[in-house]
């Protein structure tokens, strides 16, 4: 009966209640949305690289190195010598090394030159290895392996011919349009920047940069298998952008890092991906807290609106309150009636907010994963968010205390 009275009283004031619910729902949508996307993007970032013990690049900041080598964000400062790579990877403490050569793009997707070791040793998420949904790793100079998203977006299948552009824009003035590359493999989706990457061999990167048109012209426009093999020998890379290292023993990580940082032939930076990520989060912390603060303030505004609406209703319901008192309702009954009404409003707002967020993520999810390589899950009700919802319910009780107390007080006076 108590519950029914509260529900019917709310239904009786549909207009103002609906608006209050909308305001609360929007604030809950923002609060949960920010928290959810924050958590998901962190998880997405953290799962991008998991196998490598060290990442090595030209002398630069650790953040910069992490961003361009792993996340394909920003531009490399400088290249490192091929000889340096070979020296370091020959170190007995090094189990494996993956060279990375960046700088080219294909229709907006970045091109990465590497070796087949990439497909063997690179891992993401919880130590998961890359797997092929179609085809196989590249073997020849002009073989290309596509990330899942690239193949999907550009509608490429095995055997397709593609052209690379120098630079990173979708349209570039310097198209390497004479180098026809052929798709030989397509990777399974990973939810990391790998999905957005076009992988070629280091020799492939070199090949599209040299003026090999002449070679082709000499043989009458067609490139024979023999010529390509001859080319491969010539195409030893002179420099690469960065490389990832796996060590034989993790115990050696800091010693190898120090050795690399003190490498005498050229200035290098070696970073531990986990440590660099932690630094990144520290940097993002301020932004995160600002976002949280703003969504918190939006919630406070919505709760104050709820409180004001309830307070106004107490005045309208003067006779109703008096009547309830006369038929024997004690003052606390009125206090809890108003509190219950506020909680019902807050609860419905949560449902509306959560449903709205779920639908938006469902719709926006494809765009986010295609354009940002961010995979946003749909399980909105994480531990943190459930905590937030409880906090909202708690704040509602506090915000409704003023109108509830007014109801209690007007009940006590009994006039």
């Amino acid at each position: 009966m108590f519950f029914r009275l509260a529900v019917k009283s709310l239904l009786n004031r549909k207009g103002s209640i609906m608006l209050t619910i909308m305001a609360m729902a929007v604030s809950i949508f923002v609060l949960l949305g920010v928290e959810h996307i924050r958590g998901q993007s962190k998880q997405s970032f953290n799962s991008t690289v998991s196998g490598a013990d060290l990442i090595v690049g030209a002398r630069t900041g650790s953040m910069n190195l992490l961003l361009y080598s792993v996340f394909r964000m920003g531009s490399p400062t400088n290249n490192i010598d091929w000889q340096t790579y070979q020296n370091i990877s020959a170190n007995p403490k090094v189990a494996w090394a993956i060279p990375i050569s960046l700088g080219d793009s294909h229709k907006g997707f970045r091109v990465m030159g590497t070796t087949t070791d990439y497909f063997t040793y690179f891992s993401y998420g919880k130590k998961r290895q890359l797997s092929f949904s179609k085809g196989k790793p590249f073997e020849q100079v002009f073989d290309v392996v596509l990330g899942a998203q690239v193949a999907k977006k550009l509608n490429y299948t095995l055997g397709a011919n593609i052209i690379l552009a120098h630079g990173l824009g979708k349209t570039s003035f310097s198209m390497h349009d004479q180098s026809p590359l052929k798709v030989v493999g397509i990777l399974a989706p990973t939810g990391t920047p790998v999905d957005q990457t076009v992988h070629v061999s280091l020799q492939g990167i070199e090949a599209v940069h040299i003026d090999w048109q002449q070679i082709a012209n000499m043989s009458g426009g067609a490139v024979s298998q023999k010529q390509i093999q001859a080319l491969e020998l010539e195409l030893e890379p002179k420099s690469i952008t960065a490389f990832m290292l796996g060590l034989t023993s993790r115990m050696n990580t800091f010693r190898v890092q120090r050795d690399i940082n003190n490498y005498s032939n050229e200035p290098l930076t070696a970073i531990l991906p986990g440590v660099a990520l932690a630094e990144l989060w520290q940097m993002m912390g301020l932004l995160e807290n600002t976002l949280r603060l703003i969504s918190g303030l939006i919630l406070v505004a919505a709760l104050l609106g709820l409180s004001a609406m309830m307070l106004a209703s107490i005045r309208e319901r003067k006779y109703e309150i008096h009547l309830l008192r006369v038929i024997g309702a004690p003052p606390w009954f009125l206090f809890f009636l108003v509190e219950l009404e506020a909680l019902l409003v807050s609860f419905v707002s949560m449902l509306v907010g959560i449903t709205g967020l779920y639908l938006s993520l469902l719709i926006a999810g494809d765009v986010l994963s295609a354009d940002f390589g961010m995979h946003i899950g749909l399980n909105i009700l994480s531990f943190n968010n459930v905590l937030f919802l409880l906090l909202v319910a708690g704040s509602t009780v506090i915000a409704a205390a003023i109108p509830s107390f007014m109801a209690y007080k007007s009940a006590s006076i009994g006039r």
Binding site: K8, L11, G328, A329
Partner: protein, 223 residues
Amino acid sequence: MAIQLNDVRFAYPEAPNDCVLNIKSWSVSDQEHVFVHGPSGGGKSTLLNLLSGMLDANAGQVNVLGQRLDSMGARQRDHFRANHIGYIFQQFNLVPYIDAIDNIQLAHQFSNQQSLSDEIKSLLSSFHIPQSEWHKPVGRLSIGQQQRIAIARAMINKPELLIADEPTSSLDHNNRDNFMSELMAMVSEHRVTLLFVSHDMSLANYFGRADAFSEINTSGEHN
């Protein structure tokens, strides 16, 4: 005695020097039907609020149905009111957005008695409320119907004392006569003490006893 007041004084806390009620002695016997008349704004409602335990007297004895309200706590008085007193006002007798059955049920909620939905239905029938109106929010019913449901609501807990505060003022002549005859039949049948307050002297002939409020309350004379 259903009601016995001795040396009762009352002033609202906002104006402690302005004595609204000053009653030397006044009583109502069990099952008596008393009509109290007087101009509005004279403190009649204040007296009724004292008798129902909504307000607490500053001094004196307030004896209702053999119980001393002036020595009870606020919660006890709420409980006492729910169980023993029925109350009908001029208007706003019902929560407008819930239906007749819920309104009566709600009044029942605060008493100690067991729920009896059959009793609610027979009460509504005896007050000539058609079954089609039972589940509509009472705000949509006519004033006459609302006042009759108000009697049903006031009677559901089988009170010993029924207090009516100008219940007919919002009714037209026809409705008023219907209301009065139904009310009087109900209180006689259930052997209820009735205290009826109105400024409308023409209603006095329904009652065996008619008191002028100015004779009960002497606060005006002393000031």
